[in-house]
Each structure stands twice: as C-alpha cells, then as structure tokens.
Assembly symmetry: C2
Homo-oligomer: 167 residues x 2
C-alpha cells in the first residue's frame, strides 16, 4: 500500500529510536514531559527535538515539531518526502498535522498514547486518505523503554506532590 | 454546551475577521497562499500571523501557529484559556492541534476547507470530547471575502502557468 523510500532493519529502527530516547532524556533532566524525536534522511539524523513546553511556555514546542523544523532548516525545504520520523510516543493531532504537511514518508513510534494519540489510537490521521498525504506508520519500537521513561516521570511527580502535601 | 469566556457581537466578530483578512493580504503580497489569523484576549489582539511556508521553507508556518506562538510569547504562557482565535480558512489538523494544546476558548473561521479542514468539514478535532480540551467553533464570518481572496490567488497562479506554457 505504501511505497517507502527505504526499508530499515530492526537494528536500524532501534538505533534511531535510541536517539529519540536520548532526546526524551534531555527533556526529563529539564523537568519536561520526556518525549523525544529525530528526523532521518539518507540514514543521517537531520533534525532532533524534545518537548520543551514548560521552558518555552509555547504550546507548539513538541518534540516532533522541533525536529521537523530543524530538518526543514537543514534541507532548506519544507518538503521532507524521503525522510523518516522516529518519536518515543504516538503523535498528537498537531504533530500528525506537521508530519503530513512536511510530507514525511515514514513514522516510527515507541509507546502508544491511548488518551491522545492520533496515529492509531483515537484515530489515524497519518493514514486518512482524504488528506493530500499519508505515510507508512510502524509502532512498538523499544515500546517498553519509551513507555517507562514517561511512567517513571509521572510517578516521580505524583510522589513529589504527595510529599509536598505532607509538609 | 460550551461555557464561553466572552460572547462577541456580530460587529466584533467581523472586526477581528477583518484583521485576520489583513494578515491574509500580507501573505498574498508575498506570493504565499493568503490565509491569516489573529488571537484575541480581553478584546485586544495578542497574536497575528499569516502563512509564510514558501518564504520560510518551514512546513509548520501556518497563520494560526504563528499567531498562537506570538500570543504565548506575549502572555508568557502556553495557556490561552480565555483567548479566541479568528482565522480566514478552516484550520488543518496541525492548527487544530495547536489550538487544542494552547487551550484556546473559541475559534471563528471564515471559509470552509472541504478538502483539508478538520474543524467541521472532514472531521471536527476541535469538538472531539476524547481530547482533554475542546472549544466553541463558529464559521461563516465574512465567509465570502475569506474565500474570494483564496479563489483569486489560485486563479492568478493558473493564469500565470497557462501564459508560461504559451511562451
């Protein structure tokens, strides 16, 4: 159904997802919800991003958007037709929209987001043939690690909130 | 169903839509697809934007996103819970996502986008109760003017393409 520009081996998929996880860890250190993304072209990372919503106080600064914007700058083009995006969490509507608008060819994500994900969970914006672009989507790459970093982050927050209440 | 922070009169709605149209005209002059948006808070415009995809070569530079980002900067907050957005064309998935993430209270748009609009046409992301935010949506404000600026733009492009073929 989808003619892909390249086909990655499982090893390659995990390599790039680990790079996305590195980005998520940068967010975690800053106290931001740990989500990371990379954009890949011809086997090279051309865009990296992690969620910085609290630091930037800008609602649009999701990992995927920052990675896409960097890839656009690096290639001097809004078209990323031969590029792939790796992201630790299933994208939201904004990021799915950014992926479609930049014509990204393939999207790989780690953990599913049953509450807000729109690349398979609540709906699948990336494969809705009514839009003028759609892409290959694969999930489950390093799913456990990608999920755990988020679960641990929110567990820590709840713990701190509980401790603050006690004081 | 939706408790709105303010209720605009028809005159107020048209005033702010004219401001969005002014933004669209800035895009038109630059040869960009003429779409414009403004974000309003307490009756004041706190964010303005027009589509600059070709100039920026950044797929994410839609009118709504730029207006939201400016409003975030001006208020030093990603939360725009008491703000309204006026845009000349029905928002796409990316911009609907940006609206939801910034918690905008009310969205007013001029022309419908039957091919790619996701605030009523193909779907309604802004009022899908599965997301953690939804907003009041109203369409048809200065619909004809908002639609005409786009129709004329694409007519001019086709005319130029035809002339170029003849030469």
């Amino acid at each position: 159904m989808f003619i892909r520009s390249v086909k990655f081996t499982q090893e390659e998929k995990e390599y790039f997802m680990r790079e996305a996880l590195l980005e998520a860890k940068k967010a975690e250190i800053m106290g931001e919800v740990p989500i990371g993304a990379v954009v890949v072209l011809d086997g090279q990372i051309i865009g990296r991003g992690h969620n910085v919503r609290e630091l930037s106080q800008d609602a649009t600064t999701h990992a995927e958007m920052i990675a896409i914007q960097e890839a656009n700058r690096r290639t001097k083009s809004w078209r990323l037709e031969k590029a792939q995006l790796f992201v630790t969490l299933e994208p939201c509507p904004m990021c799915c929209g950014g992926i479609l608008l930049s014509r990204i060819d393939q999207v790989f994500y780690g953990a599913k987001d049953p509450k807000g994900g729109t690349a398979g969970s609540l709906m699948n914006l990336l494969q809705d043939m009514r839009f003028n672009h759609s892409c290959y989507v694969e999930t489950g790459i390093l799913e456990e690690e990608c999920g755990n970093i988020l679960t641990n982050f929110f567990r820590q927050i709840r713990k701190k909130q509980k401790e603050a209440k006690k004081e």
